[in-house]
């Protein structure tokens, strides 16, 4: 039996029925990793011994009829989420020696549910990038075609799940970093509502935009993972104290009575015809499931990227000030003065894109420029929020492409940051407004690269997103399609 190829819910049924043990599953997963990882490069750190030990413990729990909803399910996590005792680098040289002394809240929650954390996954340094090419530990490849990017910044997470090296993963999404790689790798990825999931223990990039979310093989797994990680956390004062529904229970309801909004600005210039065709086909399937469709407008969509590339670097310049060689991470030991130590440590530890964004952010916040850049961008952010409010008065969810094109070739945009930034035009607005966004596979291009459908909803409407995603999945029959590795 191909255990690594299973979804979490299918595997869970086998585990509970005692047809397989967590140890057998975990060993099978490591065998899979040994076979394909050399070609994919999704991992930064693998912790075999601990994983196998935990798998044995999980086996005993299941024997006794105990264990949480993820008992005995092995998975790896984006390397930006703190794991106690397991190295956490954020894809950066500056954190090469960092062993967190505590778990992020989401890791505590996964482990309480019985999940086995087997390792940490590749990412763009400090989550800054759209291709995972800005990683100090190597560049993961797209499992569907290894000459192409897997997307970013949660590229390792998407590649690992798509290549059956992890049953699911967690990523972080600041401007599309879960949805975009999920789309490029043909899996499901959800950016929850800002505040739905605790950010405690997430290494901060842009705190008003960052959100942790699941990357999974199907929508049911996504709902399951979201239930495990959601909820108020006293350690994150921006998390929201609002009841967490059972996200799995409404999945199978049809879409009768639901209105899908098609934002016309998302179908403009630069949209790949194959992406457009796949999305239109998906919309038809959703209509077959009972949904009605109407055109809506989000007039400020085209300003999202510009606002984002002021706000996110501004917040990053402040957040990344903590990496100074004093408390954790690397230090340039030869520096004679404190100032020299700060500068040499940061200059050697950070990669080019991170330096660029720190400088951009510091500049945008600096005296004399604040009003022209940061304040202006924050005002445009308000207009984007209002666009969504108006749209959600007319429809339940918005459906659109996740990205204007399928994955591009490795190296194609790495020397032109602006062209890379512009590829995030359809995912950034959700972060600016704090709303949830789901990416679900909806097609494969003629070149064999996956295409995703983005479903956005109002704050805390994850149930609707997942229901639409589930209905699409049932009607498209994409689940059998896997990369050939």
């Amino acid at each position: 039996m191909d255990y690594p190829g299973l979804s979490i819910h299918a595997l869970k049924d086998l585990l509970v029925a005692k047809k397989v043990t967590p140890l057998e599953v975990t060993e099978a997963l490591f065998a899979r990793i040994d076979t394909v990882e050399e070609r994919i490069g999704a991992f930064i750190t693998i912790n075999r011994e601990q994983a196998l030990r935990r798998a044995e413990e999980a086996g005993k729990q299941l024997e006794r009829g105990e264990g949480g909803v993820l008992c005995g399910i092995p998975m790896a996590i984006k390397d930006v989420v703190c794991t106690k005792g397991m190295r956490t680098t954020a894809g950066s040289k500056i954190l090469e020696p960092f062993i967190p002394p505590y778990n992020a809240t989401v890791i505590d929650k996964l482990e309480e549910a019985g999940a086995i954390i087997i390792g940490k996954l590749s990412m763009d340094e400090f989550a800054m990038g759209s291709s995972n090419e800005n990683c100090a530990y190597g560049v993961p490849k797209n499992p569907w075609n290894r000459e192409y990017i897997c997307g970013g910044s949660s590229g390792g997470s998407a590649a690992a799940v798509a290549a059956d090296e992890s049953f699911a993963s967690l990523g972080s999404d600041t401007g599309g970093s879960i949805r975009q790689p999920a789309s490029h790798c043909g899996i499901v990825g959800l950016k929850p509502t800002y505040g739905r999931v605790s950010r405690f223990g997430l290494l901060a990039y842009a705190s008003s935009l960052d959100q942790i979310g699941p990357l999974t093989k199907d929508v049911r797994d996504c709902a399951l993972m979201l239930n495990v990680i959601s909820g108020y956390d006293p350690k994150d004062s921006t998390s929201v104290n609002q009841a967490v529904p059972d996200y799995q229970s409404a999945l199978t309801d049809g879409l009768k009575g639901m209105t899908l909004g098609i934002p016309r600005e998302y179908f403009g210039e630069g949209l790949d015809p194959e992406v457009e065709a796949a999305v239109k086909n998906a919309v038809e399937k959703l209509q077959d499931a009972g949904a009605t469709v109407r055109q809506v407008s989000l007039p400020h969509t085209e300003y999202g990227v510009a606002a984002y590339y002021i706000i996110a670097p501004a917040e990053a310049s402040s957040n990344l000030a903590r990496y100074d060689g004093v408390k954790y991470g690397m230090r340039d030991m030869d520096a004679a003065t404190l100032m020299d130590m700060y500068k040499k440590t940061r200059s050697k530890g950070f990669g080019d894109e991170v330096k660029r964004r720190i400088i951009m952010g510091t500049y945008a916040l600096s005296s004399g420029y604040y009003d022209a850049y940061y304040k202006k961008a924050s005002q445009v952010r308000t207009l984007i929020v209002r666009d969504y409010q108006q749209a959600f008065a007319e429809c339940d969810v918005l459906v659109s492409p996740v990205t204007p094109t399928p994955a591009w070739k490795l190296g194609e945009k790495s020397h032109d940051p602006l062209s890379m930034y512009l590829s995030d035009v359809l995912t950034i607005p959700a972060n600016l407004a704090g709303i949830p966004g789901l990416s679900v596979p909806c097609g494969i291009s003629r070149a064999g690269l996956p295409i995703g459908l983005q479903i956005q909803g109002a704050h805390f409407q994850e149930e609707k997103l997942l229901r639409v995603g589930f209905n699409l999945e049932q009607r498209l029959d994409m689940k059998g399609r896997k990369p050939d590795l």
Partner: protein
């Protein structure tokens, strides 16, 4: 030009980054292009628009000010590149 080499060098210093001459030239070129693009925001009239700094309407998340267990000193120091068991050690300041 939207930004000069001198401005990049000045801001790099504020951000505690040491850049080579080559890096300054490269970053100036790329930032110039990015700033040129973000100037697009000036097409929109934002007079009287209240800025958004936070996506949700959460204000003043207060909690009781009570002593709770925290990270033990040795664990807090463990990741320090240089420490003496009581404090992080840095190059002499005074």
């Amino acid at each position: 030009m939207n930004i000069s080499k001198e401005e990049v060098a000045k801001v790099a210093n504020l951000a505690r980054l040491e850049l080579s001459e080559q890096e300054v030239i490269e970053i100036t070129g790329k930032l110039d292009k990015i700033l040129g693009y973000v100037a697009k925001l000036n097409e929109i009239d934002t007079k009287d628009v209240v800025p958004t700094t936070h996506a949700l309407a959460i204000h003043n998340a207060f909690r009781e000010d009570v002593v709770r267990p925290s990270l033990p000193q040795q664990e807090a120091l463990a990741n320090g590149p240089r420490q003496n068991g009581e404090a992080f050690v840095v190059p002499r300041i005074i």
